[in-house]
């Protein structure tokens, strides 16, 4: 059945859901592209046969053309949705991706991520004096200070007023929200809500 492999690609993305990026299915994409090429060649052959006088081939040509369009649409959708997912990762994780996630991206996707990073960094740098990091302050500030607990040893941390805090596992601290927000997002600190 034409277009089945392409549908598989889309299903793969849908199954993995919002939160994880499945590994780049290089084989799947390659198979869809090969199917497209073979459909196209068959069509070309049928078209030249029709020109030579044979009839009854039009239905086949139309069917293969539709399959071609569908395959193209599925592949583009697969690639585009992966890009959107990777873009979301930049806003969640910052400019350095954890190794496990990078493992699931193809080399071109890693390159796209770096390009996107550069684009974004250029834009953020141009805002105001010395730039504004738009990936901070994702949620409206509820309070100035927050109570956090360390999930892992993270060494020393210097606060805005100069005091140095040692982040040991399970230690609790009362810090300025703006300073430790990025650590909370990375999972190093856990925000304690009473």
């Amino acid at each position: 059945m034409f277009g089945e492999k392409a549908l598989e690609l889309i299903r793969e993305l849908q199954r993995s859901g919002e939160n994880s990026l499945p590994p780049y299915n290089e084989d799947g994409v390659r198979q869809v592209l090969e199917e497209m090429l073979s459909l196209f060649e068959q069509n070309q052959k049928d078209v030249s046969d029709t020109v030579a006088g044979q009839t009854g081939l039009f239905a086949g040509v139309q069917l293969r053309h539709s399959a071609l369009e569908r395959n193209k649409r599925c592949v583009m959708a697969y690639l585009y949705n992966r890009l959107q997912h990777i873009r979301k990762l930049r806003w969640e994780f910052g400019s350095v991706l954890p190794q496990e996630i990078k493992y699931n991206m193809s080399e071109q996707e890693v390159q796209w991520f770096n390009k996107y990073n550069k684009c974004l960094a250029n834009y953020m740098r141009s805002l105001g004096e010395g730039g504004l990091d738009l990936t901070q302050d994702i949620k409206p500030p509820k309070s100035l200070y927050i109570e956090v607990r360390c999930q892992m040893d993270h060494g020393e941390f210097e606060t805005q007023d100069g005091s140095v805090i040692i982040l040991k596992k399970n230690s609790q601290h009362f810090l300025l929200r703006s300073e430790c927000e990025h650590l909370v997002r990375q999972g190093i600190l856990e925000h304690i809500v009473h």
């Binding site: 592209l33 090429l37 193209k72 592949v75 071109q108 834009y123 004096e129 738009l134 302050d137 409206p140």
Partner: protein, 221 residues
Amino acid sequence: MSDISNLIEEDSDNDGEAMTAAEVLQKLEEAWLNEKFAPDLLENKSDIVDCMMDQLQEMENNIKLAKRGDFKVSLHRMEIDRIRFIISSYLRRRLEKVERFAVCVLEAEEKRDDEEASRLTPEEHQYAKDYQESVEMHMKNLALRHMPPNSQKMDPNLTTIRPNVDSYVFLKVNKHQEGVLVEEESSDAGEEVLDLVKGDQHIIRYRPISSLVENGSVTLM
């Protein structure tokens, strides 16, 4: 808000008009809410954003001069955090629209005459170009290049994402408006004209009132 006015020595000049910091913040909040709820990219308010960022910088400098442990410092820090959040949220929402509607936005920029003001800041324009190019290159290299010759182009009619200008929005009326054309004359219904009274709230399609949002007669909520 009087705290901020106390901290700031000079008035902020905006296009030759002196506005207090409080008024600029009010305008920023309005711009932020409008941008948040409008389906389309609105005019850029870079003068307000720049002004506010300068104020933030001044407030940060003034805090550094204050005594440690002074109670006012916490209040001002909170204000700084809040303002920074509003600015970030506003710019993020704009960036999101620029990314989604990159093709549309670049098209509109091409068509624009020189006298009309651009909706994009120059930095946003550059960002849209870079982003669009990176996505196209990626698609070309990974897929389009390997497809049969007839299919190697992306058809803009099929692939461009356009803002849904007909989506419904909530609005609040700031200035009285008579005779706003809501529905065009069609074979089923006559044209529908609405009078907007100050203080009223409506839910309405975005398209007929988009110009009113731009000139400030209504705010989205």
